[in-house]
């Protein structure tokens, strides 16, 4: 079982590095919005989500209501429920309720993506490994950014901004080469995303992701239903 844990850690290293650069930026923003270094780091530790945290900090600094906080988090983060549903089908049968309660903490876009790309079922140690290292990267980046925002030259922090997207690309492209159905879903979703971004600019980005994901996956399921062997994955 130990090897599953270290496998999780090693799969989580690129996520952690990407998170560090993104949350560094979050740390800078949070401190500028009037939060302390400790508060900024606590937000990253307890929420572990990018867009939701940014919106949350806006609400805190603008003196918004708790209801607003709940509604905004629901809208931006409801995609995690969809991911949780998808992941629930990939969990090892050994996963107990307490283990599920722990693993729930770590459902993020990136962790979900890497877990989904694994062949076979997911074990608790694997998920703990990937979640632990990712959370360390996320919180450490926030603390570093909040503490020393001006430490890195702009040219470096700007270039670091593409890391997570580069990782997404590496997850999407290889299966798209092999399976026509995945390529179809990918192109469908990208097209939807472009339309929403430029023609319906008032739709929030969290909500836009949900619309794209649901429509593209429904189209994929309709035109390319899985055959039985693929279901085993």
């Amino acid at each position: 079982m130990k090897s599953d844990f270290s496998k999780g850690i090693s799969h989580g290293i690129p996520i952690a590095l990407g998170y560090f650069s993104v949350s560094f930026g979050f740390g800078i923003t949070a401190v500028r919005s009037g939060l302390s270094i400790f508060q900024s780091s606590m937000i990253s530790l307890t929420s572990l989500t990018s867009a939701g945290q940014l919106a949350g900090v806006d609400i805190i600094s603008a003196g918004g209501t708790l209801i607003e906080m709940i509604l905004v988090q629901l809208t931006i983060n409801i995609r995690y429920a969809l991911m949780g549903l998808s992941l629930s089908q990939k969990l090892d049968s050994k996963f107990s309720v307490p283990q599920r309660l722990i693993a729930s903490y770590g459902i993020t876009d990136e962790i979900f993506a890497v877990c989904s790309a694994q062949n076979g079922f997911l074990s608790p140690p694997y998920m703990y490994g990937i979640i632990l290292i990712s959370a360390v990267g996320w919180v450490a980046g926030t603390t570093a950014g909040a503490t020393a925002g001006q430490l890195l030259p702009v040219s470096v922090s700007n270039a670091m901004g593409i890391m997570l997207y580069g990782m997404f690309t590496a997850i999407i492209i290889p299966p798209s080469k092999k399976q026509k159905s995945i390529l179809f879903v990918v192109c469908f979703s990208m097209t939807m995303s472009i339309i929403l971004k430029y023609a319906f600019a008032n739709v929030s980005s969290g909500f836009a992701v949900i619309i794209c994901a649901v429509t593209a996956s429904m189209a994929g399921a309709y035109f390319f239903p899985l055959k039985d062997e693929e279901n085993q994955k």
């Binding site: 690129p14 508060q39 937000i43 307890t46 929420s47 805190i60 708790l66 906080m69 709940i70 983060n77 995609r79 995690y80 429920a81 969809l82 991911m83 949780g84 549903l85 998808s86 629930s88 089908q89 309720v97 599920r100 729930s104 903490y105 459902i107 979900f112 989904s116 790309a117 470096v156 700007n158 270039a159 901004g161 593409i162 890391m163 997207y165 580069g166 990782m167 997404f168 690309t169 590496a170 997850i171 999407i172 299966p175 159905s181 995945i182 879903v185 990918v186 979703s189 990208m190 939807m192 995303s193 472009i194 430029y198 994901a213 593209a216 996956s217 399921a221 239903p225 899985l226 693929e230």
Partner: protein, 99 residues
């Protein structure tokens, strides 16, 4: 104190969203349509998050394009995630200097 309450509510809301499907949804889905739908979700989510936002990720379109092209080529040749992520970032950085 008030800020702590906001942080707590934010975290709790986010956790509940993640926890409910994972903890309460125990049975295997039978519907072929639903299985297929869930199988495609990760690819659809990541595609929508990447395009067009990757082009804004470095604060400058030119360096973002250089990084994107690097990422696409390396991904096409099945390079590991970390290699693709770091190379895209490195090339965007170099493009920013050379420009």
């Amino acid at each position: 104190m008030k800020t702590a309450l906001y942080i707590f509510v934010m975290a709790l809301t986010t956790y509940i969203i993640r926890m409910i499907p994972l903890v309460f949804f125990r049975k295997k889905i039978k519907s072929r349509f639903l299985k297929s739908f869930l199988y495609y979700i990760p690819y659809a989510v990541l595609s929508a998050m990447t395009i067009p936002y990757i082009f804004y990720s470095t604060g400058e379109t030119f360096t973002a394009i250089v990084g994107t092209v690097t990422a696409v080529i390396l991904s096409y040749f099945d390079m590991p995630l970390i290699v693709v992520a770091l190379s895209a970032s490195l090339m965007a950085f170099i493009a920013g200097i050379l420009k």
